[in-house]
Symmetry: C3
Subunit: 156 residues, 3 copies
């Protein structure tokens, strides 16, 4: 519960692949449409989702992902990650999901709070200016714990 | 809490590898045995766990998984994924865990609710008929948010 | 809520890579500093985090991780995992985070409860003696469900 007594969802995004970025964004969006308070916390590889340089170039990868039904030896050939990525990108477009930057803006405009992790930014030498302007604030793990009190927490 | 005031667990399964399928099934089963209400939501690669064609052929993969203690160059040789898979399958059998299809039936029969994600099914061009008959319903992300109110949510 | 009415966090660690070990430890530590009750449950590859033989040799891997911005064909060359690992280890040190064994001790001394999963230990043929002495107890999935009642649960 939030201070207002509202249901609350906190989503930690720690992965920067196309197939792990969309689940967080889709759940955040669905929760907002249900009137639930939403906060997202981008950390480790998940920073790629809000990094202006990488956000619209996330990749899906067929290597080490047996669900893609390709032998690993094929997955490492140059070009296969690009192929998996463009296939997934097309499917996402067909479903009318916006590209990452627009999706972040949509979530932010609907009241979702977006935070990035100070420690991970230090590790990757990123500054606030490197991130989407939809990111509200850079916070530490302790502040995340404070803000997520009473929330359902999802770690992706 | 569920409407009946019961403790409630919602498990989102987003990965289709053998080593990420069993944790969800084992936790669901343990929770049901403790009298906890359980719902599972299969999305993205997690659909492979309930897809009739793939459910009993999930693979463990040694590539990109340093915990398997094999150099990556070995992991991509044809046959290594099969070896890792058959090793894990044997260990799972020794522990008396059932194969995936029987495990789903066990969970369903014990009152666990199984849902698959409409969006992911559209992406992968799957129909309800392609899935295990133990899947109760195909739902969207908003319906998932509604059904998981008051639950402890786990994203795998 | 714990029995004492305190806020409670349960972290399931299922992955044994350097980049997935630290998020759990950092969140546990931050929660304890906020006065939150913390329990960690190590299962599957996450056992490597508390296994005395592996805990201080966890690896980051560039294969199948597009966020590392290296083509997969490079990622499988012998030595690349070691390079990614030593790069990450240096960054972690710069941020003044302790190595895994010291971090576990710190969390344990601050009141965090550390459990390992019996089933996963059986699969990997590990005994309690193989684990860090900071692990309080080996428990099953049902006991985990009991102990995590009222907690915010995070699955990493």
């Amino acid at each position: 519960m939030s201070e207002s007594g509202n249901r609350k969802l906190a989503i930690i995004c720690s992965k920067g692949t196309l197939d792990m970025a969309y689940p967080g964004l889709v759940l955040a969006n669905a929760a907002l449409m249900e009137g639930i308070d939403v906060m997202m916390f981008f950390t480790f590889w998940g920073l790629d989702i809000v990094n202006k340089k990488t956000m619209n170039h996330l990749k899906a990868t067929p290597v080490g992902n047996p669900a893609m039904h390709m032998p690993n030896i094929v997955g490492v050939l140059p070009g296969m990650t690009d192929m998996a990525t463009s296939m997934m990108r097309k499917e996402i477009e067909k479903l009318d999901f916006p590209p990452i930057d627009e999706f972040l803006e949509m979530i932010h405009d609907a009241g979702g709070e977006l935070y990035s992790c100070r420690m991970a930014m230090d590790m990757m030498k990123l500054e606030k200016e490197d991130l989407s302007e939809n990111v509200d604030e850079v916070i530490g793990a302790m502040e995340f714990m404070e803000k997520s009190e009473g929330a359902q927490i999802i770690f992706i």
